[in-house]
Subunit: 144 residues, 2 copies
């Protein structure tokens, strides 16, 4: 579904959001531990997320990553996914064909249509705020 990189990205963003909700900025080391990801690799991913304006970063002591509370309700899963994996999840042919559309469909095009629509809808309507609230309340988890 998503690349491993994208899985890390989503988990990291949710964790950062859950801490930002408590007005806490979090460092790379902490993030890597809390989402169980390789630290250096996670750093690379976070850089991409910063460049895509999904998270903020600040250097130096007391530095780290955060997300403004106001942004949490306007950032959706879809943004994280397309920042990391591009739009193949949204547009790509399930059988890997370059030319696959309504007028020239692959054999599974129609079978996948509604599933892809549902997926798209879900990704575009699930906000960071929702996802982080589960972490806050302890009803969802990010590692193991």
């Amino acid at each position: 579904m998503f690349s491993k990189t994208c899985e890390y990205a989503i988990r990291a963003v949710i964790f950062i959001a859950s801490e930002s909700y408590k007005d806490k900025r979090v460092g790379l080391k902490d993030i890597a531990v809390k989402i169980d990801s390789p630290e250096a690799f996670t750093a690379k991913i976070l850089q991409v997320l910063v460049k895509n304006d999904i998270i903020n970063s600040s250097k130096g002591p007391t530095g780290g990553f955060d997300i403004p509370k106001s942004a949490m309700t306007t950032i959706y899963l879809s943004q994280i996914v397309s920042a990391i994996d591009g739009d193949s999840v949204f547009n790509g042919c399930a059988l890997g064909l370059k030319e696959c559309s309504e007028i020239q469909p692959c054999p599974v095009h129609n079978s996948f249509k509604s599933i892809r629509e549902d997926l798209k809808l879900m990704l575009c309507s699930t906000s960071l705020a929702e996802l982080a609230s589960g972490i806050k309340s302890g009803s969802t988890h990010l590692r193991l």
Copy 2:
């Protein structure tokens, strides 16, 4: 969604089915051309499909691959997918967590539930016969 290997597998099986429908056995070379896949790599994939009883093979001149007509209605997309990609599509956590279930869900577990159910249902109910019929009629295609 699927690995590239699995995309080739599905395309190959559909092509073999569409030819078997016309009582034609098809060789590796022909398959690779018709589904636009690397020949040697496709050979490896076909071996796995043979081992999983999804397609038949026969050696020697006039040899090649085929699928009994009777089998076409009992082989489903799900079988091809799990033979090549395993059952990660069916069971795997969207965020890559090892432990993710109803009692210990990841943040997107519930959002993905219905989508995954729909996907599973579709894969388990779409038969090879259906997929091959689109190729026969020319309404669907396997390359480009």
